[in-house]
């Protein structure tokens, strides 16, 4: 037993103890704090493995287990999980106080986090699948604890249903790999025919892709994530989908090798679709948490772009490029975990203070909740890919990888790389668009409700975690090396060159980017200019210029209004619905009701028809149990005939 293993075990034990303690209402806060400490310990163990690059525990085994262990890749994901979960649990101390079923929610969230760790630590199929199921189950229970109205029940059904159905892919692929011995022997599949490998890859892509929220299997995600309580949706959106990506990485880069050649292009396509469509639908949302959930789809797409680029580059023999793309994907995994959980935690705080999160009914929260608001602003800039925050660093690396793929990947990869790069650029622009909208509607401008105007800053236990996460976002953005250094060793294609992980990111054979210098210059320059404008004397208050009209909240711009131009341009794709009903009072207009929504086409055209079809079919099939003895006897007779016929055919 190495010391690290002991740290891990102690961490798990402490977490379990914390769960037990938090089950008692009066010791809720203590329990959550203990949980956070335990999770932090586990994270330390993981981080130590990444930095020290010495594996702990057992290797992967094809037997039934149970066996567990940490290698650098697992360590990285453990560290990311801990980086998100620890603040989330601390946040829960304040967030859960006084809410219904608080102890139960605390317990389920603890179990949830442990299950996440379990999936990453598992070293055999059975343990992996067990933890996998628990990981899917815990959030569903939490959602039902929070509310049991028709909507949340429906989202739970869609969530558990789709992930469980797709989970069959995970089951079959994992079990088949265990049977073929692919966990231990990297060349196990090379002997198998292509059909088998294609089927396995297909099952794995379906299973893990659905859980990761890759389009077109993402439909559960924007339903489930908003329904959960703040800290749980932060963990769900921040790390649960990343754990699915962990499985995907294991499959694609270790176990399924050699991959069938159709996998990487397909993944690239799905990733590009997820990026663009995800952010596009996010832009059209009116509810903050749902919007953030759609952004998770987008960012999973960005990560998957990096992974696919890595696979394609490796196939083209560009191992250094492959390593770069892989590192980009991993860095974005970490970054997204940080800023997405930050945003969800802030959203939770807003929800706690003002109730509903309808974007058009907020406004000016930066003035009433300065700390949370500023953290939210930082998170928004990070997710929008604005330097000097961490989102830009990883997106820059991914873009570099894609462009390099286009330039060096050979004739096959060139168009794919170029188009994917263009898609990513469009995604970045859309993300800026979207988060300008969010920041404006949530943080800036006038208060659009009384309750918003009277809202106050949340307690320190809820501001602390978001500040911590915001600082991390900025730190990684300014000095990506602190994250890239360890990540650089993770890729299966050899470590990144030192030049790429220094203070100045130098992509071999391509551009260089010195985030620290850029940040320093911008801050310094901006500060100087601020001083300069102060020197000009005080700023005069003035009314806003709207052609002399009196400002009025009813004239305030809405989410739909801000995105209207884009909606009109893309009407062909988005198919927005719009109904305007004018009530005339004699000749005078009495009232005008305007309703508009952007339907989620994947639901309307793909999933709802499928579900209705299944339900209708089962309704028809249920008629066989008609209740008439006559029918049942007929079944018996027919079966007898069928059996004898089969025998006859089988024999002669």
């Amino acid at each position: 037993m190495t010391p690290l293993a002991w740290v891990l075990i102690v961490g798990v034990a402490v977490t379990v103890a914390g769960i037990a303690v938090s089950a008692v209402p009066c010791t809720l806060r203590t329990g959550l704090t203990v949980q956070a400490i335990g999770v932090a310990l586990i994270g330390i163990a993981g981080a130590a493995v990444v930095v020290g690059a010495a594996s702990v525990g057992s290797q992967f085994s094809n037997s039934l287990g149970p066996s567990m262990g940490i290698d650098p890749l697992s360590g990285f994901f453990i560290a990311s999980i801990a980086l998100v979960s620890t603040p989330a649990l601390v946040y829960a101390c304040g967030y859960l106080s006084g809410s219904h079923h608080a102890p139960a929610i605390a317990v389920t969230s603890g179990v949830f986090v442990l299950a996440l760790f379990g999936v990453v630590i598992a070293r055999d199929a059975v343990t992996f699948l067990m933890m996998w199921e628990l990981m899917s189950l815990a959030p569903a229970v939490t959602i039902l604890l929070v509310s049991r109205n028709a909507e949340s029940c429906r989202s739970v059904l869609v969530y558990l249903g789709s992930t469980h159905l797709a989970g069959v892919g995970v089951w079959l692929s994992m079990l088949a790999l265990a049977h073929l011995g692919a966990f231990t022997d990297p060349h196990a599949l090379a002997a198998q025919p292509t059909v088998i490998r294609s089927l396995l890859a297909g099952a794995a892509l379906l299973g893990f892709g659905t859980k990761a929220g890759l389009m077109p299997f993402h439909s559960w995600l924007p339903r489930a994530h908003p329904a959960a309580p703040g800290h749980v949706s932060a963990v769900m959106s921040g790390v649960m989908i990343k754990v699915a990506l962990y499985g995907l990485v294991r499959m694609l880069f270790e176990w399924l090798a050699p991959l069938p050649e159709w996998v990487a292009p397909l993944l690239l396509g799905a990733a590009a679709l997820s990026c663009v469509a995800g952010v596009l639908y996010a832009l059209m949302q009116h509810e903050l948490k749902r919007l953030l959930a759609f952004h998770s789809v987008e960012n999973v797409g960005i990560i998957a772009l990096g992974l696919a680029a890595s696979l394609l580059a490796a196939e083209a023999g560009q191992l250094q490029l492959a390593a770069l793309a892989f590192a980009a994907a991993m860095l974005h995994t970490l970054n997204h975990a940080l800023f997405k959980s930050l945003l969800f935690l802030c959203a939770g705080s807003f929800q706690r203070q003002v109730g509903k999160l309808d974007l058009d009914r907020l406004g000016g929260l930066l003035r009433t909740m300065p700390v949370t608001g500023t953290a939210f602003l930082a998170g928004s800039m990070a997710i929008a890919g604005v330097p000097p925050f961490n989102g830009f660093a990883s997106e820059w690396l991914t873009l570099q990888a894609l462009v390099q793929l286009a330039l060096h990947g050979g004739q096959a990869s060139a168009p794919m790389g170029a188009l994917a790069a263009a898609a990513l650029a469009a995604t970045a622009a859309l993300a800026v668009f979207c988060f300008v909208k969010v920041v404006g509607l949530v943080l800036l401008g006038a208060h659009r409700q009384k309750v918003v105007a009277s809202s106050q800053e949340v307690p320190a236990s809820m501001t602390g975690p978001v500040i911590f996460l915001a600082v991390l976002c900025l730190a990684i953005g300014v000095v990506p090396a602190i994250a890239l250094g360890p990540i650089g060793h993770l890729s299966p294609y050899g470590p990144l060159p030192a030049s790429a992980t220094g203070l100045t990111l130098a992509v071999p054979g391509s551009g260089t980017f010195a985030p620290l210098a850029v940040a320093a210059f911008i801050v310094g320059c901006a500060a100087a200019l601020q001083l300069a404008r102060r020197r000009a004397g005080t700023t005069a208050p003035s009314p806003m210029w709207i052609c002399g009209q009196v400002p009025d909240n009813r004239l305030a711009w809405t989410s739909a209004g801000f995105t209207k131009s884009l909606r009109l341009v893309l009407a062909v794709v988005l198919r927005p619905r719009r109904t305007v009903s004018v009530e005339l009072d004699g000749v005078l207009v009495h009232s005008v009701v305007h309703e508009s929504e952007v339907p989620h086409l994947f639901d309307d055209l793909l999933f709802r028809p499928a579900l209705n079809g299944i339900l209708a079919a089962s309704r028809v099939l249920r008629r066989t149990q008609s209740g008439s003895l006559r029918a049942y006897l007929a079944y018996l007779l027919i079966t007898l005939a069928a059996v004898l016929a089969v025998v006859r055919l089988g024999v002669s």
């Binding site: 039934l64 287990g65 149970p66 199929a125 059975v126 699948l129 067990m130 933890m131 199921e133 628990l134 189950l137 039902l144 049991r148 109205n149 028709a150 029940c153 429906r154 739970v156 059904l157 558990l160 249903g161 469980h164 159905l165 989970g167 069959v168 089951w171 079959l172 079990l175 088949a176 265990a178 049977h179 299944i614 339900l615 079919a617 089962s618 309704r619 099939l621 249920r622 066989t624 149990q625 003895l629 029918a631 049942y632 006897l633 079944y635 018996l636 027919i638 079966t639 007898l640 059996v643 004898l644 089969v646 025998v647 089988g650 024999v651 002669s652």
Partner: protein, 496 residues
């Protein structure tokens, strides 16, 4: 443990319930009957458990008219446990209803008579060494259990009992035809009953022309199918399980179906040599997967609790059957685990119906609604059942399903295993769908549960819930060890 001891022990385990049944008839009053019942149940189950464990520990013996091996050991133990719980919970049920199938005065006595008779038959079937006799006992159970199903005498109960009677009897007559064909074909000029012994059956079948053997085998399998409730001849099953008294439903679902399936299992192992493994296994695989498939659409709707459980029996019998068909050691480990776990959880589910129907009378027709509020203990029992039946970790059924699927993949039945996995997932969605419908609904306004009902009725369910939960946890703990254990090794060698 030697045969000399095995035979008397086995005989005792079968005789004991019969004795108890007769003793109970002597009870003066109903209360006396209930009191006596407790004693008899405990005593009977002690003998049964002793016999079962003895069979588990001592290897397989086929002497005289009994066959005692690992399989019979497992089955006797589980049957005894389920029967014990049913017997102990029967007073709770009887106090709630007034049976009208029998004359009111002897109602309780006749109930116990039938119950213990049923018990005796269930213990007998796994240990009888002869296919023909086994089938006769199966037919006998039909008589006893159909009366028990109709015990309440209500129209729906009568309907369920009648359908059960007609369908299963006609089915078993098909099986008899098959047996007679086996018999006369193997010995045209007469022969001893012994040639239908499990040990002799391979030779018997080998003497028959191949196609005749296959036909006879198929007929017997079809006959057993009607009794096990394999689709498409399962139609009596949901009616019977939903209308029978809760303790009887538990015995039907947790004990009777798997016990009859044991006959099919033994027959398969006996016939494989003579008619070829493919021909012997195909019916099992087909019936199994088809049963799971048929169960799915019914699980996709909210329905009354016991009916839901009945359709889950259909599904889980199908899963076990597929496991038997796969027959790799891992799959058989899954089968054992699934059989035991399903028996416990399903029985508990049916017991939960006793307080449930007393708290919510309309739950007999519609899906139960927010039980958690009106009766926490009942809800706990239902939750344990649903969680286990859904095959979610860490319930033993999760591991058993996993073992069966992995076993299928290992032994090359990839298609079968994949289909099973998909169907299980679909069934899970169905259960989830029903569960959520029940969760989100509000309690029916006309009915207000009173405090007395709550405290008074749900106390009996608490103990079984705790016991079952512990037992399930123990099973989960065994799950890791089972695949490598001697039990599975012996099962894998064939149990005929």
């Amino acid at each position: 443990m030697t045969d000399q001891l095995m035979i008397p022990l086995t005989t005792a385990s079968i005789a004991m319930p019969i004795v108890a049944a007769l003793v109970l008839q002597a009870a003066r009053s109903e209360r006396a009957a209930h009191r006596l019942n407790r004693v008899c149940a405990v005593a009977t189950s002690l003998v049964g458990l002793g016999a079962g464990l003895a069979m588990l520990t001592s290897g397989s013996h086929a002497t005289g008219w009994v066959i005692t091996d690992t399989a019979s050991g497992i089955y006797v133990v589980v049957v005894t446990v389920v029967a014990l719980m049913s017997a102990l919970l029967s007073p709770a049920y009887l106090s709630g209803v007034q049976g009208q199938f029998f004359s009111a005065r002897r109602s309780v006595h006749s109930y116990y008579l039938m119950l213990y008779g049923f018990w005796a038959a269930l213990v007998a079937i796994p240990v009888i060494a002869n296919l023909g006799v086994g089938l006769i006992v199966v037919e006998a159970t039909t008589a006893a259990s159909s009366v028990l199903i109709a015990f309440s005498g209500k129209p729906r109960a009568l309907e369920a009992g009648w359908k059960y009677l007609i369908l299963t009897t006609l089915g078993v007559s098909i099986a008899f035809l098959g047996i007679v064909i086996m018999f006369v074909a193997s010995a045209p000029n007469g022969g001893g009953i012994s040639q239908l012994d499990w040990s002799a059956l391979p030779a018997t079948l080998a003497r028959i022309p191949h196609d005749a053997a296959v036909a006879a085998y198929a007929l017997v399998m079809l006959g057993l199918a009607t009794k096990i409730g394999w689709a498409p001849v399962h139609n009596w099953l949901p009616d019977a399980h939903s209308e029978a008294p809760a303790p009887i439903s538990a015995m039907l679902s947790s004990a009777l179906l798997p016990v009859v399936m044991l006959l099919a299992w033994r027959l398969r192992d006996a016939a494989s040599a003579a008619i070829g493994t493919t021909a012997a296994t195909t019916p099992l695989a087909a019936f199994g997967i088809f049963s799971v498939a048929v169960a799915v659409p019914f699980l996709w709707q909210p329905m009354a609790w016991k009916r839901l459980l009945a359709y889950h029996s259909l599904e889980h019998m199908g899963i076990i059957t597929v496991g038997i068909a796969i027959a790799s050691p891992l799959a058989l480990a899954g089968v054992v685990l699934h059989f035991a776990g399903h028996a416990l959880a399903k029985a508990l589910g049916f017991y939960a119906a006793i307080p449930l129907y007393q708290v919510q009378p309309d739950a007999t027709r519609h899906s139960a609604r927010d039980v958690a509020a009106s009766s926490p203990a009942t809800f706990a029992a239902m939750a344990v059942t649903a969680f286990t039946l859904a095959g979610l970790p860490p319930s033993p059924l999760f591991f058993s399903e996993l073992f069966i699927i992995l076993g299928g993949i290992e032994s090359g039945h990839v298609l079968l295993a994949s289909a099973l996995a998909v169907l299980i997932a679909l069934a899970f969605i169905g259960l989830l769908h029903a569960l959520l419908e029940a969760l989100q609904g509000s309690p029916s306004p006309d009915h207000q549960p009173t405090a007395t009902i709550r405290t008074g009725r749900t106390a009996p369910i608490l103990i079984p819930t705790v016991v079952t939960a512990i037992a399930l946890a123990a099973l989960t703990a065994c799950a890791w060890l089972l695949p490598a254990s001697g039990i599975v090794r012996q099962l894998a060698q064939g149990i005929s």
